[in-house]
Symmetry: C4
Subunit: 258 residues, 4 copies
């Protein structure tokens, strides 16, 4: 089942792997943005009909909180998301195993000139404070939710049905282009935590949790707040001004990604 | 209310911040073009149903001048646009506060090797004369309006309904790709002035107004002329040749962006 | 009237100007591809309803030859295309006048380290023979026509109506990405000749015609052959295999660009 | 007939040629991704109505294996695909003949600083083992098939009809962005083998087969396994969960590319 949660991370992590190990010859920051972004597009196409393309745990959480998804569905979805992301990390590790051996001689490190942990999980810029990182993730996720709702809100100026997976993917790329340099824009617990756990198991050690001033928990917790914030902003400033006022989430599909 | 005017500048300023402070590792000129362009796309999705996505003060002005919008709406819209843009500047400053401290040690300057004022407002190339700058903004805004009208003119070869936010965003990116190197293509008073005022207040000082031979007023005034020029060119050369000749602006939505 | 023939060249020449004079800081080869490509998209949106978006003289010629356009329309369309392209060159010269003065001190040259003639017209790579250049333009234009017909052929797997301007623009960008390094992919007499004439008048002198072993006539003549070749290949290999066999050009819109 | 199988390779090989011989001035890794990706888009537009856009031999094979295409059609399609790809290689060689002579003085080599064989066929990274290369191609092709099925599955969250050629092209670009650095993502026997045979005949010699530890057979064989894997994963994890359970391949169009 988690196969359809796997796609965004598979493409995203792959695009980082190419740039980290291959340098300019195999991409650049923009190709990483497109890797995660278009990966989300493919994830929605794959999982949209089965699970409503729920790929982002913080979004699933917000949907439960505002009453558009039963709480009992949360653990099922979250588990699928976490497993799918873990599976993506395993696949990328397997696919780029020869490359990893060649690049760092099997010496998997979190920091230093041949660091490779950043292929799998995010790490903050050296200057980023804990508060700054928390704000970064709240804002990034809130913006994601605000735009996703607009893209899919048929009572607003929504994207043409059938093109919203592409537009949503471009949104994720856009967040990377604009709000990504502080911490690599995880904006989703399921994007970040499972690959981090995988690296801890696969040879990078527990430094993956302690690095960046114990950065690991911020992409898990802060997106929850950001997601709820984004939903509320949209409801208060946009949705409540719609003529009929009925909820956008009645149909409950396609609104939760990355 | 100004929340839906905020998006283009939020993404745009963020993309500049990444490139100014992070260099090639976090983007390039093309990513800035996409930041502003796709930011407009998202702005239309967010604000299209509520305000007709009026995000560009010069466009709102032109709409009033040709009789498609009541003059009394101009101050309301303009205020929303200015506040939204100011809010975007505050958010980006807040989001990249740690980065700014790290990059220039809290010494916010308008010129020099560590200049950061260009993250928020535009500054002309050193060679640009006042006349050249004025022409640059008139032409850029006229081209913007000419194309926006075509994209949304159902009697012409318009973009498929529901895809015009994306096509309009690509148009804004295209203007950056083609007509941006003289002055950073503000082409909208609301894009440029409020972030400039913010920087004056936040530590960059009044140099933000005097720099570039008092550049600040050109992105405020010239787009007004450009916008009217673009509307008139479209009316005279295209719209008047439509069979029925009825006005495109009857429906009054989606035609004013960035 | 020629205003709607102006767009592709306006954006295209502008994107070259930024890269020639501004270097990596204002774009790269890919941004030039997008400048010409998305410029075609905008040109179709602007001119599609009035003139069928005829922007490419070689395409108009082919349409006449196969009987889908009256020959008497050829001079009218060709004149509009040539004037529009000339107008684009004038506008770009005007817009980047300060930049040109700054870049080369008013010394407009066709070759050398500060050459700027390439902003306006194409010049072949030093290695390119006359025969090689001719082949280059025949193949490039044939591929353009082959794909344009497919994109607009409702009996084939055509692009969704209303999205074909975008897909056609991406096609032009793609030709630049793939078939552009020999000679800058003019593939249209109207793209190349009028800006070249303009440069001869504006200070670059007659070298613009003699340069590249008298390159100037190849982008004028070879696309005519390429265009006819592309139309015939599509007719023989694709269109004649359609069930009904009726002509795609009955409606006569949107099939001739760049 | 093979004319409509030609397009993806024509654009793809051309984009590699520009980067190999022209360097950064004529593209980069991302432009190669777009060359192959948008080339597939054009290939579907050209061949979709006539052949269902079957361009990938491994996909045609999988369709036969699962009973959606008669086995007797396999040799016809495969032959067309191989001839089309060979024709593309001939055209690119012809088009860039002057450039090749200039770049390497007519000394066509597979390795070394002026190697040009990589324009036509793929070669693995030096570190890649045979097993690693096989896995690379199985995974890459499986992901291709998984996503193509989702993009075209009307019972899932499919792409809007008429936009699937573009989305499929972006998928191919995405695979290059994410899963391409090990071996250049052939993921299709017809993309790789015929241009390789052409180079053997045109002056590069039999080294094109022995290079990379006899790499040539992996892009021929491994995609067959990957294609079947991708189809099965989609059937088991997605399609079998559709309410009605009827086969996606009844219509049999557009599902086989690159």
């Amino acid at each position: 089942m988690p196969v359809f949660f796997c796609s965004p991370q598979l493409f995203g992590l792959g695009s980082v792997a190419q740039v980290v190990m291959g340098g300019d010859s195999y991409g650049n920051y923009l190709s990483i943005n497109l890797g995660f972004g278009l990966g989300v597009t493919m994830g929605i196409h794959i999982g949209g009909g089965v699970s409503g393309a729920h790929m982002n745990t913080s979004v699933t959480f917000a949907m439960c909180l505002i009453g558009n998804l039963f709480w009992k569905k949360l653990p099922v979805y979250a588990l699928g998301q976490l497993l799918g992301s873990f599976l993506a990390a395993v696949t990328i590790f397997w696919l780029y195993y020869d490359a990893l051996q060649d690049y760092c001689g099997g010496n998997f490190t979190v920091t230093g000139p041949k660091a490779t942990a950043g292929i799998f999980a995010t790490y903050p810029a050296p200057y980023l404070s804990v508060a700054g990182g928390f704000i970064d993730q709240v804002v990034g996720t809130a913006v994601l939710l605000l735009c996703i709702q607009a893209i899919n809100d048929q009572k607003n100026c929504s994207a043409l049905s059938g093109t919203s997976p592409l537009v949503t993917g471009l949104l994720v790329a856009l967040i990377g282009i604009s709000l990504g340099s502080n911490s690599g824009y995880p904006i989703n617990p399921a994007r970040d935590l499972p690959p981090r756990i995988f690296t801890a198991m696969a040879g990078w050690g527990t430094t993956v949790f302690s690095a960046g001033n114990n950065w690991w928990w911020i992409p898990v917790v802060a997106p929850m707040f950001g997601s709820v914030t984004g939903v509320l902003i949209y409801k208060v400033f946009i949705e409540m001004h719609h003529p009929s006022g009925s909820s956008l989430y009645a149909q409950g599909t396609e609104e939760s990604v990355k």
